[in-house]
Point group: C2
Chain length 247, copies 2
Amino acid sequence: MKVGVFDSGIGGLSVVKSLLEANLFEEIVYFGDTARVPYGIKDKNTIIRYSIEAVEFFKNFDLDLIITACNTVSAYALCEMREAAHCPVVGVVQAGALAVSNTLTCKDANILVLGTKATIASKAYELELHTLEFMNIQTKATGLFVPLVEEQIYNKNVLDATFDYYFNDLQEPDVVILGCTHFPLLLRYLKSYFKKETLFIHSGDAIVAYLKREFVFSRTYMHPKLKFFASENPDGLKKIAREWLGI
Amino acid sequence: MKVGVFDSGIGGLSVVKSLLEANLFEEIVYFGDTARVPYGIKDKNTIIRYSIEAVEFFKNFDLDLIITACNTVSAYALCEMREAAHCPVVGVVQAGALAVSNTLTCKDANILVLGTKATIASKAYELELHTLEFMNIQTKATGLFVPLVEEQIYNKNVLDATFDYYFNDLQEPDVVILGCTHFPLLLRYLKSYFKKETLFIHSGDAIVAYLKREFVFSRTYMHPKLKFFASENPDGLKKIAREWLGI
């Protein structure tokens, strides 16, 4: 099977990492729309237009499946991408919600959804979680997390002040959904901020679990072909891919 | 005289505010490339391409002058915009450097230039300041300031931790150049962070001083025509313009 992975930028590489560890695909084609990142501050119509352009680009590769690694795209443009595509399209929001359901038996658990402004405003996670009968949901648009990661600011004082700013009026959560591909890079700091038992849902792991449930994989591929494309500075993307993925 | 003001987003409205206070123009046409903001993380060729597109757009308005309110554009694309335009093009970097020169007689003053990653990497301010014989220059890419302003996070703990993170290895400056249109919104917090005598250079005021020096304005206009255009969500831009400019 050949898969296309679409993200607004480089963050979706964390999903590629999970796919590589699961050995599910013969070929992985990554497209990062680095010229137009970030999507999380754009309006719905723009996000849909850009996402359909990505589907058109993927038609060059005879793919069996497209994954939208970007939470904002998954929240706003999944239906439109499915209409435009010649193959199934799966999104990290749906996968993330299902991962909560697979992890928790207690429907009363307090779930905190973190995401960009656009992802949170879409209420996409709440919709999916309500369908799965989880009702105790808090959401928070933590827009500053993206530039913190992009600027690689992992300074404890800055992070603690930022966490306090965003979280001081929230109930202590049992589960935190990292609803943006950048957020796993803050995981160790978030882990030390919240109580020890807090569960964290990571889009990459969630998508692998979702794929294994929804599709039949008849064999494993130890050395998939990898192709990386970016709408700006593809060499920069390839360099980061080599570092993050150890390829 | 009719002027076009170009910015990557909404930040250039702070330059429009200074222009309105100075009553220099009969008509002000603003274009914010809100669909493709921010420019400060993009590469040089992309910034140039977008800036030339803005010049082409301005050709619809029979302008006498174009101002690039965006520091990143002024740093990278001023020459190319001048080649493409049918009228003079002036930039905030050149104006900001000249404002330092007009304010300070002492060439040994310690000047701190703040800007986006792209503006700082361009060394455009250093080049202009060196030409004016200022040699004691520190620069710092304070990328997090943009999302702090856009997210309207004016929380003292977050700002202090961020200022410490960026500035703790710097010498105390005599002058701080706010080399991004977003940064004036942090001015009161920066003022209380640095020593009391520190001078701050604001792009809007700098451009007015520059224009008065370089061009002849034969009369004043108390009620200029204002036209606002955006590549995405123009209603949002107009709403912010009304709030910021009190129009």
